[in-house]
Symmetry: C2
């Protein structure tokens, strides 16, 4: 594999036209951090400027009725639903990931048929674990969060005492992917429900919530989905559970008639009841710029491109940098991979700093692993070649051992 | 009172220089909807543009460490703390008002010493009521929300079975204000705690949380505080309660060491533990533009100006429009008033529509009341004169009875 072969892959890429829909950085930086922060749609600055002057300044409170402020969350949800096999009207854009995890995990606990344990693993993202621990801490009748220390332990532990199986679909460190259909089957056989965190999956790898018979899901808006720094998150409820009871947080946006200003709560029909209070209007407007792109994207082409980028990254890491101390951590088997490729090197921290100076933005995780998050709509195959060529150079000339790279940021 | 007298009041206004810090609309619209949506700081569009190009595009995930994304919520909280007598470090900017109400009401319920009732009144904002009803609905051991139908009933109902007194400081319809110190005293005497919604107060009327011995408070960021449509809300916890236990929603932003990625939850010291997940970075950047203004504002001058605007509004409504069917609903006594002035007219709906056409944006509430929300930093006394002159004209020539105003929006 060489640069010319990568360029040929780019020429044949059916999604290459989407690259121009995202803003390129001024310098020739290659951003491989889509697992942390997705690229910006080019329409965002202009949209924000016109929002500010035409809507905030000229409409003020009339924006609620004269602009689609209240419709945006549903529009965004429907525009990204095909990326996760979610069906129409079931994806609710609201709040941040942590709040949505809390809402959905609490709701799943109440909707369960039996069991006392929330089963999870220590590879789940910290905030996911904290939410579960917080539920267990709150009340005597609340679930006990059981944190397994390995995937095999978790699989063998699913049983009659399991209330909810609560997992990140793809591991935020290694990029390892769960077999969602298999876990859903095992959980349902034991009478348990499943809650999936899709933050490191949606917009990168195949997700088929309805096809794989999941119960609930939550995900981040600002990673692969390019919803903007700190932008709104989403939640998904299988239609069979959507109306099982009142939502965890009853708010006016989940009321049957928002502008009736009724004093009694009555839930909205469907998953929409799980919205809480006032939507994040400006943040939604930003996310909507990305949603306009996502609704044009064929999910099968997206996933195929992402797989090809991942295959190339693994191949080049081993071909170019394997002899220089790099070991790929992420499983070779595509069906076991998430949105990013993880690899280790004894000097991973300083190597990460040297990469930043060389204009390659990946991310470092203690003690010795690096991650390249692959955004399929704006990364080219040649970008991968170039990033790994820069990595090779850093390793070959031992640049990473320089004094200035020893102070490592998170 | 006439236009010239209003102009003299403007000349003597020590806060008049702040008017230029907010964007004026292109047309000569007078916005009297600060109780729904505050005006935009002039710095917002430029700040957003540079945020997008310099931070989102050029930094991507490095924004977490190279930009003040994680510091903004605390900076905003400290910049608005003097407007509510909150002390430093106790105001947490996060989530929306509904989610904060849920977090704080649940926490207050757990922190109570006795009682089974959450005492509230039907003048509380609907989403506040829904949150309380949702808590009562959830579990057997949860509080029962008791919704009083009058203020006098609520006062007399506070007793040994009261766990939490849960009120909006200023009524969103009539603008009537509670005596916060008095209610706190009565609640504490009965062994209960208090939770105040300050959405219709902070940035307009005096609030003194510590001086009045409140326990908890929550408020909206996008009304008087000009935090931007759907912008983040805030919560306040009295230092004596801040560390009474784990927060309701345990998330990574409330963890003792955010970037340790620890698998076990340990709460952050102080009120900061009540933050949940990823902050709303771009929305915080917008709110920060307003916070930069608020930290320059002397709260006593602010409150005096707001009182003077309210006094003038009442005087002119009665002088100019009293004989034309207008009745002021808001109490005359300043100590009983909130941020807006409410008044009624038999044709309030069509009158509101006619006012919109005439460039006066107030708001209508069924069946027959209108509200003028007064933003003290950008409204002039002459604005009030002009708005009420337009109202008088509409009433005098019976324009509001025209066919085209009979279709009334919310």
């Amino acid at each position: 594999m060489d640069r010319a072969a990568c360029q040929r892959l780019d020429q044949e890429d059916p999604l290459s036209r989407f690259r121009a829909r995202f803003m390129s950085p001024k310098k020739d930086t290659i951003f491989l951090d889509a697992n942390s922060m997705g690229a910006m749609p080019v329409t965002v600055p202009e949209r924000l400027t016109s929002f500010c002057t035409d809507q905030w300044v000229e409409l003020r409170r009339q924006g609620w009725t004269h602009s689609p402020w209240l419709q945006r969350p549903g529009q965004i949800g429907d525009a990204i639903a095909h990326l996760m096999g979610a069906g129409e009207g079931n994806v609710v854009v609201s709040d941040n990931t942590t709040v949505n995890l809390y809402k959905i995990l609490t709701y799943a606990w109440r909707a369960r048929s039996s069991g006392t344990l929330i089963l999870t693993e220590d590879g789940n993202f910290p905030t996911d674990l904290y939410v579960a621990q917080g539920l267990g801490h709150a009340h005597q009748d609340q679930p006990k969060a059981h944190v397994c220390s390995s995937r095999s332990e978790l699989v063998s532990r699913i049983g009659a005492d399991t209330a909810v199986v609560y997992l990140s679909h793809a591991d935020y460190r290694t990029g390892e992917r769960w077999d969602m259909a298999d876990i859903n089957r095992r959980a349902h056989a034991a009478g348990a429900l499943t809650v999936w965190d899709l933050s490191h999956s949606t917009g990168a790898i195949p997700v088929d919530l309805i096809g794989d018979d999941a119960d609930f899901a939550v995900g981040c808006g600002y990673k692969y989905l390019s919803g903007g720094p700190g932008g709104p998150a989403y939640l998904w409820v299988h239609p069979r559970h959507a109306e099982k009871g009142w939502p965890t947080i009853c708010g006016w946006m989940g009321h049957r008639d928002v502008f009736a200003f009724a004093t009694k709560y009555e839930p909205l029909a469907g998953a929409g009841r799980h919205a809480t209070g006032t939507p994040a209007v400006i943040a939604d407007e930003i996310f909507f710029c990305a949603a306009e792109i996502w609704q044009e994207v064929d999910q099968n082409l997206l996933w195929a491109k992402h797989q090809a980028l991942g295959d190339l990254t693994i191949e080049l890491l081993e071909q170019e940098c394997g002899p220089l101390g790099v070991t790929v951590n992420t499983p070779r088997d595509y069906r076991q991979r998430g949105g990013h490729i993880g690899f280790s090197h004894p000097g991973a921290g300083p190597v990460s700093e040297a990469l930043l100076e060389a204009g390659v933005v990946g991310s470092f995780r203690r003690p010795n692993s690096l991650r390249f998050g692959l955004g399929p709509l704006y990364l080219s195959f040649e970008d991968i070649w170039e990033a790994i060529a820069r990595l090779r150079q850093i390793l070959e000339d031992n640049r990473w051992q320089d004094e200035r790279f020893q102070q490592v940021s998170v």
